[in-house]
Amino acid sequence: MKINQKVLLLEIKNFLLGKTVLIGATCLLLFGFYSFYHGNQVIGRQQQTIASVPSVQKHHLQQIIAHGTGKMVGTTAYYPFFYTTNPASPWAKFSIGQRDVNPFTLKVKMLAIEGQLYDSELTNPLTLLVGNLDASFVFIFLFPLLIIAFTYNVLSEEQENGVWKIVRTTSNSIAAAIAGKLLVRLIVILVTTLVVFAAAVVALQLPVSMPTLELLVVVLLYALFWFTVSALVIALGKSSSFNATTLVCIWIFLAILFPGIANIAINNSIPVPEAAETAIRQREGYHAKWDEPKKPTMEKFYAVYPQYRKYPVPEDGFSPGWYYAMQFSGDLESANSSERLFGKLMQRQTLSERIAGFNPVIAAQQSLNKIANTDLTSHIRYLQSVKAHHRQIREYFYPFIFVDTPTESIDWSGYPPYQPDQYVDEPVGAGMIAILAWAISSLVAALVLFKRNFIKIKDIKNA
């Protein structure tokens, strides 16, 4: 099967001069440009906030020190917040993922940590309902519609208007004629993908590096998948209206219904009662200590920090050391449920990745979020880093609290600085393989159907 280059050029000209291409490509470019603007806006605002954190932290601590002068550290230490940030990766503008719903800055006190991890700003539910029209949305949800618009009538329209009979009787190789028509659409689809992606690289200032290349591979494989799905439907040899309806139904199922059903299934199969349980245990673990003897509380604290046993804690009155030991006990008592909570969140993530093997739309979205570090796993890493930083802060201030040091005598900015997580190159091979496998399966099925419905003699419609 050999496809003549001149035939391809004429096919391209005929296709590109059609109104569908012009309207489809224009709409996609407009959405594309808006998505770049949206990505820059959302992540830009987050980055501005993150950039302001050091000065806010400095000013905040100065106020705390001024307010606490003349008091002991144990009293003053109740008040300060210590800021942490989850900086966006350069690719977050491309795929915002969960960064719009999960907090990207968390300020924590030296009190029990668990309750503080889940504090976040209120989000407008209408904004959440609409979602983000970022570049990943354009590639994941809108590109398939463009591919459908470019391909649904590739052979059926010619059958319907009678050109196909002349093509069939003229062509030396009907397989080559079909391949040529499909190849032209594939070339236009891939070129459009590359153009929009290149525009995204420029507009979103994505670094020319491996993650950007991975993004490109995912969107190209994804475009290939939808092209093969279109080819499969075309190969059924039905009418243009049947093809369009079927392809849009497939899009609705894969892009909307399936993910919704999968989300419900995951939530039901892995319930997370630990989320509430952790907060309750931590609060009860701390509050109950007010009415309990101090010794058991302190013993739990000493088991972890034996170096503070030498400092006296009065049994019959309040002391800062005992107060922070109570807070720590709350975390200790909720530690198991907290661990289970994070474990279950990871289980949900693992299950959703398995489910993605059955749906290239989910696989592609997950891959883009992983590359952009905007997925659930990235957020869990951030929460863990906040926990670690909380421990660093406690351990920095404990000596001053137990020694009963005056507020003005210590360096309040001497605690270990928060170190945001570095970019993590999460593996996306499984997602890519899933998309490729579905693309190959669709292609093979399409080839079989093309042979049966177009290559062999059959009763041709309208013949």
Binding site: N4, K6, V7, L10, E11, K13, N14, F15, L17, G18, N161, G162, V163, K165, I166, V167, R168, T169, T170, S171, N172, S173, I174, A177, I457, K458, D459, I460, A463
Partner: protein
């Protein structure tokens, strides 16, 4: 040569074509007359390989269409009632496209000569087909058939809807193709056009070829009477 032996096509219990026996020699124009549903288009579709015969054989130059659907395409060309080509390409580009599909790589000059042979005005060569009249598209269809150097031409009501001048032009070109040795099978409703261009005329009814007449031996009026009596 174009030949049908006991050629039959049934769709369920309906017999669209019943045991057609027919032979058309090079240089001969055979016109099939008949009402809608008489089996004319089914006959052409069986020769084109658009549908498989239930019984019998359709062959072109001794090659069975059903057994060698790809091979017979080299020998035949087809012009439907309405030639629908690619509206975004010019007449010249359409001819080039279909010539290339058939394996012929003509120069622009040769393509222009083919269109001129088919009677298309030179100023229309580089106009997009979307602006062509039906007659102009039929001429591009003829040019495609000529470009293919096909020895067998199948026409399915090719003058339907053409104005008398365009229809006359079309007939003249068809006759010149036959004079050059092309065997032509033409399905038509137009009794007078059939009488004018065909060497032999077959009248079909309900899938059966009722009679075959030598066109030279009958007047147009006699043919019309016979046709009306038959159908």
């Amino acid at each position: 040569m174009l030949e049908a032996k006991n050629l039959t096509k049934r769709y369920g219990s309906h017999t669209a074509l019943n045991k057609l026996n027919l032979s058309i020699q090079p240089g001969e124009i055979f016109a099939l007359l008949g009402q809608n549903g008489a089996g004319k288009t089914t006959t052409i579709n069986l020769f084109l390989g658009f549908t498989e015969p239930t019984e019998g054989v359709a062959s072109i130059n001794g090659i069975s269409v059903a057994e060698n659907p790809q091979e017979i395409k080299k020998h035949l060309a087809y012009i439907p009632e309405t030639v629908m080509l690619y509206p975004n390409l010019t007449g010249l580009e359409n001819l080039e496209y279909f010539s290339l599909l058939a394996g012929f790589n003509y120069s622009k000059k040769e393509l222009g000569e083919l269109l001129a042979t088919a009677g298309l005005q030179s100023q229309a060569f580089n106009q997009r087909l979307a602006g062509y009249s039906k007659g102009m598209r039929q001429k591009v269809g003829i040019a495609i058939a000529v470009a293919k150097k096909a020895k067998v031409l199948l026409l399915d009501e090719p003058t339907s809807g053409l104005d008398p001048k365009a229809s006359n032009e079309f007939s003249r070109i068809i006759q010149s193709l036959a004079e050059n040795g092309t065997a032509i099978l033409m399905a038509t409703h137009d009794i007078f056009r059939a009488k004018e261009v065909a060497s032999r005329i077959g009248i079909m009814k309900e899938g059966n070829l009722q009679s075959v007449i030598d066109a030279a031996s009958i007047s147009a009026n006699e043919l019309e009477s016979l046709y009306l009596k038959t159908v």
